[in-house]
């Protein structure tokens, strides 16, 4: 679809989440297509790239969710951080528990700082980042490091899915067509170390060649809990399961670089594409994991 076709879509802005869910359910039952639109920073760009619209073919109806305040609430209750799916990156950066104040979830703000530039951060959302399903999604990598849960809602009810189980393949997920992502839930450790490293062509607006988000709880010289999320090294955001188990398997001083590299290699399957090569990505993946492990005290 060329950009001039954009205007042909029908559009609604509904007052509540319940109205959005009902519209999705009704249209799905009638086999009509619907797209929920948050910041538009993925969807509008996709429309520009798509081939021209064929006259007569059905266009999805656009349902604007960018202004539903219930979908934008960010809230900390004890250690449980809840983030509305339509909260923007700028909201994360400005939030008194994320980018400001006590910074309990500093990793999210650090990730947000590297995502696009301010103009993208003012519009883009974590819900859109996850729903698009790109393996290069930085927000998803950070949510995975926190082992976040994804809350999905439809007229049929609500369910919660671990973020590591949300994506089922390249651009495929467990989300049903009548469901929307409403929020992310993160159980924040009281004390933890975090890590964020994005390897891209330049500081702003660069899609990751590789990005690593990490969260670790270290006690008495050993990692007790670790969360990792890596972008751009597999068809979906990589949780690096073997690397996680290896890092927790022994006291930090007993970990070795060679074994760590082997675990990372077994967790990644990077590809060659316009942005980088398989070889360079695999190299970066090993280097950033080592850097995180070193920051925790491992001699790697």
């Amino acid at each position: 679809m060329a950009i001039t076709d954009l205007e042909l879509h029908s559009f609604v802005r509904l007052p509540t989440i319940a109205d959005v869910l009902q519209t999705l359910a009704d249209r799905h039952a009638a086999s009509q297509k619907t797209v929920v639109l948050a910041g538009g920073t993925d969807w509008v760009v996709e429309q520009e790239m798509a081939p021209p619209h064929k006259p007569g073919a059905e266009l999805p109806m656009v349902v604007d969710i960018s202004r539903l305040s219930d979908l934008q609430t960010i809230h900390l209750n004890g250690n449980l951080l809840t983030i509305g799916a339509a909260a923007t990156y700028l909201q994360l950066r400005r939030h008194p528990h994320i980018g400001m104040g006590d910074k309990r979830a500093a990793l999210l703000a650090r990730m947000a700082q590297d995502l696009g530039a301010l103009q993208i951060q003012a519009r883009g959302t974590l819900g859109g980042n996850l729903a698009t399903g790109s393996p290069a999604a930085d927000g998803v990598a950070a949510l995975m490091a926190y082992d976040a849960s994804v809350v999905l809602q439809s007229v049929r009810g609500e369910r919660t899915v671990p973020i590591t189980e949300f994506q089922t393949g390249y651009k495929k997920s467990v989300r049903a067509p009548d469901e929307i992502i409403t929020q992310f839930q993160i159980s924040l450790p009281t004390h933890y170390n975090w890590y964020w490293r994005k390897v891209g062509t330049r500081r702003a607006q660069a899609i990751s060649k590789v990005a690593l988000a990490g969260v670790a709880v270290v006690e008495s010289g050993q990692i007790q809990r670790i969360g990792l999320g890596m972008a751009s090294v597999a068809p979906v955001t990589a949780a690096l399961r073997n690397t996680r188990s290896y890092l927790c398997s022994a006291p930090l001083h007993k970990l070795t670089g060679a074994e760590l590299d082997a675990a990372v290699n077994s967790d990644c399957s990077p590809i060659d594409d316009v942005r980088s090569t398989r070889q360079y990505r695999a190299h970066c993946a090993r280097v950033v994991v080592r850097e995180f492990a070193r920051s925790l005290g491992a001699p790697v």
């Binding site: 954009l6 696009g116 530039a117 993208i120 702003a204 607006q205």
Partner: protein, 160 residues
């Protein structure tokens, strides 16, 4: 669809498809051609406007998403024929050459002065604005100078 938008402080009613890009409605029916289209995909920042105070790419926002909201474009910076201190600094310090990036650059710089300074550095505030001419240093100099002049202002007007 008839849409109501507050643009540069004035309420406008405009007939447009709600799924048209904000940029096209500004440049088309509203006749505000200050905002430019460089890339049309969020990369260059030539289309930057403020939406309720924050910088956005008008090429990625659907106009229906802006119903009832406030937009500031480059046309809203000057007071009549008098350029804002920021615009004057761009003139005085060579912050504009070909001028294509300038409207977006001025809006990002304006956002930095008014709201994002506590969050970002000056260079980060214009990281989403590409300039092919100046090499950025003169733009940074212009914004820095405007900030300075703002602090040492020796006269002014209160009220209207």
């Amino acid at each position: 669809m008839n849409l109501t938008l507050t643009i540069n402080g004035t309420v406008h009613h405009v007939e447009a498809s709600p799924t048209a890009r904000l940029l096209d409605v500004l440049r088309g029916p509203l006749g505000l051609t200050g905002s430019k289209e460089g890339c049309g995909e969020g990369e260059c920042g030539a289309c930057t406007v403020l939406l309720d105070g924050d910088p956005v790419n008008a090429c990625l926002v659907l106009v229906g998403q802006c119903e009832g909201r406030s937009i500031l474009t480059v046309e809203g910076l000057a007071h009549g024929q008098t350029l804002s201190p920021l615009q004057q600094a761009f003139v005085g310090h060579g912050g504009a050459q070909c001028g294509i990036c300038t409207p977006g650059m001025l809006i990002s710089a304006h956002a930095y002065e008014k709201s994002t300074k506590s969050l970002v550095t000056l260079r980060e505030s214009i990281a989403g604005n590409i300039c092919r001419c100046t090499g950025y240093q003169r733009i940074v100099d212009s914004i820095t100078q405007a900030e300075h002049e703002d602090r040492v202002q020796t006269f002014g007007t209160v009220g209207s």
